[in-house]
Assembly symmetry: C2
Homo-oligomer: 367 residues x 2
Amino acid sequence: MTNETTRREALIGIGAVAGLAALPQAACAQPGRKLGYAIVGLGSYATNQIMPSFARCQHSRIAALVSGTSEKLARYGAEYDVPEKNRYSYATFDRIADNPDVDIVYVILPVSMHAEYSIRASKAGKHVMCEKPMAPTARECEAMVAAAAGAGKKLMIGYRSRFQPHNVAAIELCRTKAIGDLKMIRTAHGFPIQPNQWRLDHKMSGGGSMMDIGIYSLQAARYLAGEEPVEVTAVESTDRRDPRFATVEDRIDFTLRFPSGLLASCISSYSSSHNEYRAIGSDGWIELEPATAYRGQAMRVRRNGATSTPNIDTSGPDQFVGQLDHLAQCIRDNRTPIVPGEEGLRDIRIIEAIYRSMREKRAISLT
Amino acid sequence: MTNETTRREALIGIGAVAGLAALPQAACAQPGRKLGYAIVGLGSYATNQIMPSFARCQHSRIAALVSGTSEKLARYGAEYDVPEKNRYSYATFDRIADNPDVDIVYVILPVSMHAEYSIRASKAGKHVMCEKPMAPTARECEAMVAAAAGAGKKLMIGYRSRFQPHNVAAIELCRTKAIGDLKMIRTAHGFPIQPNQWRLDHKMSGGGSMMDIGIYSLQAARYLAGEEPVEVTAVESTDRRDPRFATVEDRIDFTLRFPSGLLASCISSYSSSHNEYRAIGSDGWIELEPATAYRGQAMRVRRNGATSTPNIDTSGPDQFVGQLDHLAQCIRDNRTPIVPGEEGLRDIRIIEAIYRSMREKRAISLT
């Protein structure tokens, strides 16, 4: 058994969190105060997924809240012990510059507001965590990266799956060629979208399923591939008579071509349920379904003609805790996050090419 | 419970073979002699899959053999009790016209020879079963259809999956909207091809993985969709330094757009293993993996948030028997086979568009 094989088997058998050197590891936790997050935007994802996760964090805490709704500030301020002086409206947001309790501003707003609030946070001298997709256009992403760099502060994008143990294990299995050379990746993400929400208004979302859920297919293809695509070909299907899709797209089937010859066949949908990927190599495949859900990930691996369901250790930090503590630790250690602003920008550049390909009905070069 | 639901549940529960009216049914078997097949080409598929299946047929028997290798004629002639007078070389093939034992000529030759031998069989006054892909070009397919029509004889293409119980059940579930309206189809077919065989010689095969195994993805997309595609977009990846791929393609990712808005995302590969499809509707999905193998099909259905593995009755005719007896019964009843020459032609027209799309790197309209 080679060292590589041993490492791979150990990874599947005893837990994946140690698989990537850059990931947060409880073993190297440093003492000291937890870094303070200001949560900007108290919508569903913030209040149901992100804010409850801080209770499990070692390096992060909720220090401030920002909302345009005073009732939300009062309710969540009380629930999370955020003093009144650390509750901000959008009008008073910039005063956060003077608040030493706040180290990091986490932007969880409609996509069209990401650039503005990320840049204002950088200018206020704060580190920034920004939800994905980073912004509606690559131009805005570039401005966000420049603002953080100009302030000498960090900017990270909320790609939680990069901290999810099954996904970390799948990446490691691809890197160590557990299924041989990668030949194909297939991934699909989608759900039937409910009407009447900001995500269906192009002015606020910057796009339809691709910006919201298809970005998981794009990210998965890129992190499993471990290389950058050189060409994209996309096909759209949207029923414009459906009032949900008056301004944004429904389904996109897009194909990424990578320099090695690997093809990734990817789906994004607002009218059917998908949450899966399969990386297919010369010697087998690795599948996650669900792949990027909030919880419940399951892996199957096919090698040597047999399908197995590896037991991934999920006793360590979950993806939400991993993401939040990773930025805190990167700030302490002055390291670059594994998903910095530049990573968000890469996705948006590819998404712009996907939109162009589906409009022009031709392959678009990314080089 | 509606009648439609009852029918659907019955189909899953007690067997799928009765699902399509055109399928062979033991219940309506007619008495009389079995129709005689002449097997043209004694290669692996003919000798390992097709010829052993006649022992299970009710309406079909092996009447004659055609081969360029006299040792094969002697060996299989003895094994299948084919008298010497019913053993032909390619030079003597046309004399089959005078042999009343032969009703049907089954062409199982390299693809480049399909048109010639199908047309010669039609001209000899015989019905024809021809393996898929029908021929390297649509022009040849059209000539085959015309020859059969001119002779007043039937022409059927060997699409065995249309007679495989799990596939029949999947089609019926799609038709009866068991998973709501179809939104996406995903299908992949491939295997790592061994070097040094006629399939890797473009002059004999007419193409690479697409003609050989990708055609299963194309067929599955079409029979699950129940409508004809109006546009195709294809992306190729072939390592031309690999001696296997000197003249034929390796991987193709192609997308079919259907009039309803349904998209089918399809893979064909000669360097990775795939045999699966999933039809995804507004209310769930139906998956087969393996989907189109010789045996071992397995189905999963997701509806109402739960995944089940329906028990498909496979006690009736298998796909090989179903295919062979279907043509025999169509001849007796003077019905058109469910996969006539025109169906093979449709696939080849789409494959020509797939090749054009991957060369020109743009979407190709099929209307």
